[in-house]
Symmetry: C2
Subunit: 193 residues, 2 copies
DNA sequence: CTGGCATGTCAACAACTGTTGGCCTACAGT
DNA sequence: ACTGTAGGCCAACAGTTGTTGACATGCCAG
């Protein structure tokens, strides 16, 4: 997709090319993982020469860092239905996962690559923990609760979108929400068992 | 580890070498994932020439197939405490994950490699589903329940052993069992929500 | 003693990778 | 018209990878 060039730029504005590279990179990283997503393939998808990738992002690691910037967009606790927060969160993440390649890309790379794992941890600490801290009754326990919630959500994402267990793929959104919702709700708010 | 050679073999029995290769391969696949685990490194670990790997396993895919043969050793339902099956299962998998590199290897490769994913699905279908079918009240729903159970167990394994979320690593075995046990129990036996 | 087979090494191939530097070319400002 | 510069391409490098075939060597059977 070459975006429209507002009259008067050079052949293409550098920003447009950088964006095209990022798009292609996200798709490739999501589909192939870090090692098999080659710079050459990404450049081909973006319709430019591999050396341009280096010009704009320095090296492959830099490209991945840029391509894996991610915002989970977890809704603020106040906007969630008090009683069905678990279900609402599950629903949110199903949406997120189905509409954004970056989540799968980050997960794939996080599992294979040490730097990728560090990045996933940063997202977890920076975005998941704070939200859980705003929900759970004992904020000092938020990290543990966040880890539990994440384990269930990550697990379902892997089963459904990465490993593609047939029953997990076939299951309807509603079924998943109905089954996982209570689990997440319990991890968020239940007394320590 | 060169195993003892019963008097009268050639320099080394082929079985011993094959086993040494498998050990090294499991370790490397677990540590590095499929792409970065090179045949050369595996051969070096096993103390032999890379070409021997090809001789015995044909190619890298064949080596991985052999190295990722896995038995989850899920206990038969009859031997489980009727009331705490969920907790017992969680405990079993924690043990399994901590004592066998192959699980991590299979998971890592399953997430990056299409053939690896197929293999994980086979293990799931062949070993998880039957056990769940022997436990849950409605056997025709076993695949779905098995997927749910797997999602939670896989998710915790990834958070704790692969991504190493600090809270998931710090958590004690007992805490994990206490939190996940009821979840798994519900996935196994609860009425459909 | 001699042959044959199993176990193993060595060196090389062809493909592919990330990365680099030099060159081209169209546009904007003068 | 001229030139500087930003956007882009080309060709090549150096390293690594999976994989292959030719060759060495120890052991047992005859």
């Amino acid at each position: 997709m070459t975006t429209e060039a507002p009259a008067g730029g050079p052949r293409r504005t550098s920003g447009a090319t950088k964006a095209a590279i990022l798009d292609a990179a996200r798709e490739r990283f999501a589909a192939d993982g870090y090692e098999r997503a080659t710079i050459r393939a990404i450049a081909r998808d973006a319709g430019i020469d591999p050396s341009m990738v280096m010009r704009y992002y320095g090296n492959k690691e830099g490209l991945f860092a840029a391509a894996s910037e991610i915002d989970l967009r977890i809704p603020r606790p106040e906007t969630l239905p008090a009683v069905g927060m678990g279900a609402a969160l599950v629903e949110h993440f199903l949406d997120r996962w189905e509409n954004d390649d970056v989540l799968t890309a980050l997960l794939r790379v996080g599992v294979t690559n040490a730097a990728g794992a560090e990045r996933v941890r940063a997202v977890f600490t920076g975005q998941m923990v704070p939200v859980v801290a705003g929900i759970c009754p004992d904020p000092e326990d938020a990290p543990r609760r966040a880890a539990l919630v994440s384990s269930q959500i990550l697990g379902m994402a892997i089963a459904r979108y990465v490993l593609r267990f047939p029953p997990a793929v076939t299951m309807s959104r509603e079924d998943i929400v109905d089954w996982l919702g209570p689990t997440v709700q319990r991890y968020l708010t239940a007394e320590r068992p």
